[in-house]
């Protein structure tokens, strides 16, 4: 569904990758591998339509991204290095407001339940600023449970998570794949997932 042809990415005077092509069918996931600074994040931002490639193009369901931004973004869930968390809102508010802006309203109970699944019971009302590094990432990951989207693009989703949370997240991804979704992931750790496609930059 997501396919990429002859993509070239240049940053400053450095060409990060050149002539990259691949296709990602439904129910499959793609690991973007590479050492630090190889260009994984840059690739993911291009795939999400946040930045423009120097050359080449990205298509989703056969249409180029630019042609119909809104339709593509309705199908996309992107999670970057930084999470869109407001330090002074509670995890619950962060979730519901964030999703509200995208036009989803999961409802308080669903959001609270998702937070619970990620081990944040009793902290729904604590301002996010007090949360630990791992707990913040967990709040972000709750979006995966609440907002349906066939394409996930996740940049190092496993950082800062402890063993338990890594388990929860990987089960979540497996279920997403089983139900016909596709995902693009990066990680420097081993990922406890069924084998998938892989691109090395």
């Amino acid at each position: 569904m997501l396919s990429v042809s002859h993509l070239t990415c240049q940053r400053g005077e450095r060409v990060l990758f050149r002539d990259l092509s691949f296709a990602l069918p439904a129910s499959q996931w793609l690991q973007v591998a590479g050492s630090n600074g190889a260009g994984k994040t840059s690739l993911l931002r291009i795939l999400a339509g946040l930045s423009e490639p120097a050359e080449g193009q990205v298509t989703w369901k056969g249409r180029r991204l630019r042609e119909d931004r809104a339709a593509f973004h309705a199908d996309l869930l992107y999670l970057g290095h930084q999470g869109a968390l407001k330090e002074e809102l509670t995890p619950l508010e962060n979730l519901t407001l964030g999703l509200g802006m995208e036009g989803f309203s999961p409802g308080e109970e669903a959001a609270a339940e998702a937070l619970g699944r990620f081990g944040l019971q009793g902290r729904e009302q604590l301002p996010t600023r007090y949360l630990s590094a791992g707990q913040r990432r967990r709040v972000l990951l709750c979006r995966l449970m609440l907002r349906p989207a066939p394409l996930w693009i996740l940049d190092e989703p496993f950082t800062a998570l402890d063993v338990h949370a890594v388990g929860v997240l990987s089960r979540l991804i497996e279920r997403h794949l089983a139900s016909g979704g596709s995902a693009v992931l990066t990680s420097h750790q081993a990922m406890p997932l069924p084998p998938g496609l892989s691109v090395t930059l």
């Binding site: 999400a48 946040l50 930045s51 973004h73 869109a84 968390l85 407001k86 407001l97 802006m101 036009g103």
Partner: protein, 225 residues
């Protein structure tokens, strides 16, 4: 979600909630206005006549600076923590979300200023009629300040030293609003008509409402690249 303006309302609600979470921000924008306006007599001296003459201008400039101060935080926090990225990726129209944010900015920084202006005018010994005209001109004018300011905030987003750069870009563009706004009171005091001033302010406001959110969105997309 009901109606095409749902994202607009969502964005307004969210920003108001954020503002309410630290009430200081609302109150202090207001107090900044009050203090700046009150500093003027201290710097200039207590001559009542002199003060009455400069009152409309001083109040308008105070409003302008108060607006400016809040503008730096219009998009910056959302940019830093990735919220803006998420908004740009949202299936809802980006322009509407941004218009909502601008509206919230005005509600938080412009409206309180308008409401407290008559009080300050009394301090400067302005007559009642002038007070009314001044307040009305601020009511029409402060949304212009927020709208034009948003363009500047988007252009300087993520640029270091953006706070001061923003002022440099925006203050010259504020001049027409300032002149027609502060001018209305003075024209009235001079016995001239004020319809001209107000209709020009109104036209300015309309133009800004139509174009500013759109230009802001374009600038934001550039900043996110």
């Amino acid at each position: 979600m009901n109606g095409a303006f749902a994202p607009f309302r969502q964005a307004v609600r969210r920003d108001l909630l954020l503002a309410a979470r630290h009430k200081t921000e609302v109150i202090t924008a207001l107090f900044f206005f009050v203090i700046v306006v009150n500093l003027l007599p201290l710097g200039i001296g207590p001559d009542q006549d002199l003060l009455r003459k400069i009152a409309p201008g001083a109040l308008w400039i105070g409003a302008l600076l108060a607006t400016l101060l809040g503008l730096q935080r219009l998009f910056a926090p959302d940019h830093q923590d990735g919220t803006l990225e998420q908004m740009a990726l949202s299936p809802q129209p980006f322009t509407l979300l941004i218009a909502g944010k601008i509206m919230a900015h005005w509600l938080v920084s412009g409206l309180p200023v308008v409401m407290v202006a008559p009080l300050l005018g009394v301090q400067f010994d302005l007559p009642g009629r002038s007070l009314a005209i001044l307040t009305l001109s601020l009511l029409l004018g402060t949304p212009i300040l927020s709208l034009i300011g948003a363009v500047g905030a988007a252009l300087t987003l993520g640029v270091r030293g953006s706070g001061v750069l923003l002022s440099l870009l925006i203050l010259p563009l504020y001049i027409p609003a300032l002149i027609f706004g502060a001018g209305a009171v003075e024209a009235d005091l001079a016995g001239l008509g004020i319809e001209g001033h107000f209709s020009l302010l109104g036209a300015l406001l309309l133009a800004c409402i139509v174009f500013a959110p759109w230009v802001t969105t374009v600038a934001l997309r550039v900043a996110l690249e």
